[in-house]
Symmetry: C2
Subunit: 348 residues, 2 copies
């Protein structure tokens, strides 16, 4: 902690050469020709800054491994984990840190993941990022308290560990505002039925926008089911069968929206002219491949990964207060991604 964090970039900057050149020189890479005066300049810069290419030796000398552990759920099933990893990695590289990633299966409980955390600690990581695959509250394993940590996409029940989560309310506000501004007033919300923050907070955003625009809230248009394609299809069939059917659907996620597309097709409703739809998640494989493309809300996975690493770096340098950060989670924007599923209602 507080140790000077000298990286290869600093050496490159001081020597006035590229990072690659520094690497070649300090590692004596064969076949790479570097002019002798450049070599000398690089070695001098490295010495001045106390930078050695052999990280194992450096780790022993400074008691720093240069490793940051990332515990990630469901790495093999969604691109969400990949975007968190990429964001964390890009930020880690900036600080000359290496990310060690470990996958954790979601358990039946709130997944303590104690063993995975221990594996990372055994690897001499300096700090741990703990990433869940959807926004929820977690009870953390006790061994996570011995090392600086930041939560990604979850919050600590105990309120001890700093956390970064999506601004669910803001995302819903963006989605519903887009529909209202297109002219819709009868908007159904196909919500999830799990007791998770996104369920409650997206509903808050939905109500907020209608309220702000003086649109009366028809409670019967707020319906819930598991957030999968088939239940989304069934819900959409239900609300679209009404004589006073809504002109637009705000769907809890892209999978439910995919079900709603199918319902619309069966009912002969053209999207977006007969029915506008907005999703949530920006799962490209769905959203970009539907006809027409699904307008949806992106989750800030890349940004959360990057934010978490930056925050760890500040914590490790003693530049930030753990307790202050842990006080309440940081919320990052969920921006609207416009494709082709929203138009003005016909009967406007």
């Amino acid at each position: 902690m507080g140790v000077k964090n000298v990286g290869i970039r600093d050496v490159a900057k001081l020597a006035g050469v590229s990072v690659t050149t520094v690497s070649h020189v300090l590692n004596d890479t064969p076949q790479m020709r570097v002019a002798p005066e450049t070599r000398a300049r690089v070695r001098e810069a490295a010495e001045t800054l106390g930078y050695g290419p052999n990280r194992a030796a450096r780790a022993l000398r400074t008691n720093r491994s240069g490793l940051i552990g990332l515990l990630s759920e469901e790495i093999a099933t969604t691109p969400h984990a990949g975007r968190i990893i990429l964001g964390a990695q890009d930020a880690a590289r900036e600080h000359d840190l290496t990310l060690v990633i470990i996958n954790a299966e979601r358990g039946p409980h709130d997944a303590a993941h104690r063993e995975e955390v221990q594996t990372l600690i055994d690897r001499q990581v300096e700090a741990v990022l703990y990433a869940t695959m959807y926004h929820r509250r977690v009870s953390l394993p006790p061994n996570l308290q011995g090392v600086p940590a930041v939560l990604i996409d979850s919050t600590d029940r105990a309120g001890i560990v700093p956390a970064v989560v999506p601004d669910e309310v803001g995302g819903a506000v963006a989605a519903v505002t887009h529909l209202v501004e297109a002219g819709h007033r009868r908007i159904a919300f196909l919500n999830n039925d799990d007791d998770v923050p996104a369920t409650h907070e997206r509903l808050v955003g939905f109500r907020q926008v209608l309220g702000e625009h003086g649109i009366p809230i028809d409670e019967s248009l707020i319906v819930q089911s598991p957030s999968e394609t088939l239940p989304g299809y069934a819900l959409a069939r239900e609300v679209l069968a009404r004589h006073d059917r809504p002109t637009a659907l705000f769907c809890y996620n892209d999978r439910m929206a995919m079900g709603a597309y199918r319902a619309a097709a069966e009912l002969g409703l053209d999207i977006p002219n007969d029915l506008s739809i907005v999703g949530f998640d920006n799962q490209e494989l769905i959203a970009a491949n539907l006809f027409p493309g699904l307008t949806t809300v992106a989750l800030p996975h890349y940004e959360m990964g990057a934010w978490a690493v930056e925050t760890l770096v500040h914590l490790l340098r003693g530049e930030a207060e753990y307790k202050l950060l842990a006080d309440k989670p940081t919320r990052l924007d969920c921006p609207l991604v416009v494709r082709g599923s929203v138009a003005a209602p016909r009967d406007r």
Copy 2:
């Protein structure tokens, strides 16, 4: 190389305790109570085997870092990368190795990824896994030759580095056999139009099955387009407009199949009763969410990741011959995943 690969599991086994207990004892984890006699047994076992918990010290002592680098493309866009990572990680854990992952953007060329490889080498990795996001031939960066390496989902143009790839022919054989065994004889192949191994080899499998079953090949039923949803839709509209329309479609990938579903819906063709469809890739987000679920062929990403690590371990121990392995790529099975998109043709 050839160094005895002692891991925490070996210590746990010798001491007759769990891996977690070994970790607690050797790291003096606070708050963890372990009986004194157990502590003594663990320390003795660790000493006997020469296992130290401080990897940095060990790395310096043995000149082994215990790190394996994984260079992966498109970690943030597909779950394919995640499955490779998971397979590699599970295998690495078995051998007490840590995976350091680095993402590489696909470049305009055959992506040499020289800089990413150098970053891994700078991190003192013992070996490098090089994973591409679809099966292709690559020209490797020269710095990859200084370190043991294995390619995942690609083959080395120069024929120097061992590689593991999907058995594309076998996957196509499984898909088309499934259709033929359901009773189909007029089967169209909606193929990709890129010059990549999968395009050619899946066609080989398609022809092979028809040939083996004495079904004459109608060349006009073999059509090509970019392997995306919209072109797949257009191709499907085309072949399904014929008076002698096929009763089944074998699609190059799940995205093209998703387009074919849309074409079928527009033409009032029920899947699977009027039209059977088989995809390729097993992209769960598509295949499991279509109505009905798409029968498809899985790519062995997890298995390729695991195979690559096992092979690296053998290479590092000197138990396998680099040259023999590099001689030709190892091909892993692409199994059929049956969902609901295939039935007997009506007019059988």
